[in-house]
């Protein structure tokens, strides 16, 4: 449904769903959390797609589904034309080398009992990435390429600051020469001056290593800075997706407008007195019928509570899921 040449697509996601079963109360009935509900998304080669949304909107679950760290309930994820959802273990392992991840918290994503060299080397071996020359030299070069010193290979994670740890996580991710990196809140745990260093590093690596990024964050400023295309998620669905300039200059979905309206400009001359959005995100267990945003929407009409809107292309490459655009 998106107008990207098939040859250019690295990842094609179609009708992807992930429902978690939960028990309500102690003896209560089983209920379904619709974490990701019927998502279509295409990511082109060497593109950065950003995903924004509030906590619980399903952005992390979507990332984990692409990595197939969790099994989807329904739908397909094609990576270079191969369906990851139906891959057997062996085949999956050979593909996974090309899909790596960077997570939010560098304090829990690095094994504290392994040296930096082991952390990176283990990942390469586990993914079946083989080298003709010594692993040691390769890892040292990797560390230097992410702005660390080569002799850090023998040190342990606790000896490093948050920013340095995130650099180690980046080195681990690029070690297997991946084509796609899923960066899930990679700078959310870092201070702003360090955040800027990591964002610069990711952009440099993208250029030098020809990497495609899926950049997941709740921080709209960061997503805007990093991405070429941005998708907005709400309660398991993508409600709007467009090239960055179009999304930020001409947001169409009422939720996108409210979300952009709550961005705090760090300028004392632009104070916001009005709150753009009242209420809170409803529970993803039994989400509202029809358009999931309708209980909080200022423009809702009768239809909105009955018929769920699909993504419609309103201008080139700009898709919106709303009855009134």
């Amino acid at each position: 449904m998106e107008s990207f040449g098939l040859n250019n697509a690295l990842v094609e996601i179609k009708g992807l769903k992930k429902f978690f079963e939960v028990q309500k109360g102690f003896f209560g009935e089983k209920a379904l959390v619709k974490a990701v509900d019927d998502v279509d998304l295409t990511i082109s080669k060497q593109e950065t797609v950003g995903l924004v949304g509030e906590s619980g909107c399903g952005k992390t679950t979507l990332g984990r589904l692409i990595l197939r760290l969790i099994e989807p309930t329904e739908g397909t994820v094609l990576f270079e034309g191969r369906n990851l959802c139906s891959c057997q273990k062996q085949e999956l392992r050979s593909v996974r080398r090309f899909i790596q991840a960077i997570f939010q918290d560098p304090f829990s994503s690095l094994n504290p009992r392994m040296s930096v060299g082991t952390i990176i080397g283990r990942n390469m071996k586990a993914q079946g990435f083989k080298l003709d020359f010594g692993y040691d030299r390769y890892i040292k070069e990797l560390l230097e390429s992410v702005g660390l010193r080569a002799e850090f290979t023998d040190r342990y994670p606790h000896e490093f600051s948050g920013g340095q740890r995130q650099r180690i996580a980046v080195a681990r991710a690029i070690a297997t020469r991946p084509k796609l990196i899923i960066a899930d809140e990679p700078t959310s745990a870092l201070d702003v001056s360090v955040q800027a260093q990591i964002l610069n590093l990711l952009m440099e690596l993208q250029r030098s290593h020809e990497i495609t990024f899926l950049f997941i964050s709740h921080n709209i400023h960061v997503v805007k800075h990093m991405s070429q295309r941005v998708g907005v998620m709400y309660l398991g669905k993508i409600v709007e997706i467009a090239p960055k300039e179009r999304l930020f200059n001409n947001p169409m979905h009422p939720y996108t407008r409210a979300l952009l309206g709550s961005m705090l400009e760090p300028k004392p001359t632009q104070r916001k007195e009005e709150v753009p959005l009242k209420g809170e995100v409803p529970s993803p267990i039994n989400p509202p019928a029809g358009c999931r945003f309708h209980p909080r929407c200022n423009f809702k009409k009768e239809d909105c509570s009955i018929e769920p809107p699909g993504l419609v292309e309103v201008e080139t490459d700009h898709y919106v899921a709303c009855h009134f655009v």
């Binding site: 705090l264 400009e265 760090p266």
Partner: protein, 323 residues
């Protein structure tokens, strides 16, 4: 500012931590004032001493390992550092100065109902019967726009969302009409749309109750939205202090400037962001002279040797820098 308008004066405050034979100089000689009904922001990166400064004002630093080693905290005309612990608990903490934290879920006791916790606070500082205190609790919850407040007081903290719980925390802390309200990263754990609601609530409550606010945050956007004055901290010191407009438009200290240039959304639209080289120093062995000099582009010989004094650039705008 006239003396009578000043609510809090912190002078030469030093709070150090003693552990494993080392002295960590978490707060190392800071001065600032807060006027009555004024909102002051305290910004800086992790570990710069923002929270320890606030805890010192609340007298929540306990030895071991922490100790206020020097300085004065004059609040409403009295030096808090001369108060006994008992007197601080009865007259100050929760009564004249109250505080909320980043994570409301860890600030509330999970095994007591919201109402019970609020009533306890109210009755500790005000002579009210249990009935009256409960009425007051419901009233406060209504003030912070919690729907169905008379039902919510019977809820346990886990039954409320993060945003609602932070509202309840604000209601609880404001229930004794404090003169100073300290908010330590009050919206950092919340989503942006909820953050906007909480900031608006804080602004409205301030208009209504006229308390002063000390807002601690790493988010310059939050400061710009809420504060009148801002103090920028680095490695245990305040490096610049003044009105929000002055500091956001004309930062003078090299650290303030560098911090602003690394923030997205401040017109920093170029692809490569400016960064501050290196990392925050270890506060058990801080560099001599100006603590920022190893990372400063403009450092000179004098910066390595002498601690910079306070310079008043124009009225109310102070900078600690040799340049």
């Amino acid at each position: 500012m006239r003396e009578t308008d000043t609510l809090l004066t912190v002078q030469g405050l030093k709070t150090h931590f003693f552990a494993a034979g080392q002295v960590v100089r978490a707060v190392d000689g800071i001065d600032f004032t807060i006027g009555k009904g004024e909102t002051v922001g305290l910004v800086g990166e992790t570990g710069c001493g923002k929270t320890v400064s606030a805890l010192s004002v609340m007298r929540l630093i306990y030895y071991p390992p922490g100790k206020i080693v020097d300085g004065k905290i004059i609040f409403d005309g009295q030096d808090l550092l001369r108060f006994s612990e008992r007197r601080v608990r009865q007259e100050i903490r929760g009564a004249k100065i109250s505080m909320i934290f980043q994570e409301p879920r860890t600030s509330m006791n999970p095994v007591f109902r919201i109402g019970q916790q609020m009533v306890e606070v109210i009755r500790l500082h005000q002579r009210l019967s249990a009935k009256e205190a409960e009425k007051k609790a419901i009233e406060m919850l209504e003030h912070v726009k919690i729907p169905e407040a008379s039902r919510v007081i019977n809820y346990y903290p886990h039954e409320l969302s993060g945003g609602m719980l932070q509202r309840a925390m604000i209601a609880m802390e404001l229930s004794c009409n404090p003169l100073l309200f300290i908010a330590d990263e009050p919206t950092t754990a919340l989503d942006v749309t909820i953050q906007a609601q909480i900031l608006q609530l804080m602004r409205r409550m301030q208009e209504k109750m006229k308390m002063a606010i000390l807002l601690i945050t790493h988010d310059l956007g939050v400061v710009a939205q809420l504060c009148r004055k801002v103090a920028v901290m680095y490695a245990g010191n305040i490096v610049e202090y003044g009105s929000v407009e002055r500091i956001f438009e004309h930062p003078i200290h090299p650290y303030t400037g560098a911090l602003f240039r690394s923030v997205l959304g401040l017109g920093n639209e170029q692809e490569r962001l400016d960064t501050i080289p290196g990392e925050v120093p270890d506060l058990s062995e801080p560099p001599p002279g100006c603590k920022f000099h190893p990372r400063c582009n403009e450092a000179r010989e004098v910066c390595r040797q002498r601690i910079p004094e306070r310079v008043e650039m124009e009225q109310g705008h102070y900078v600690y820098c040799h340049l």
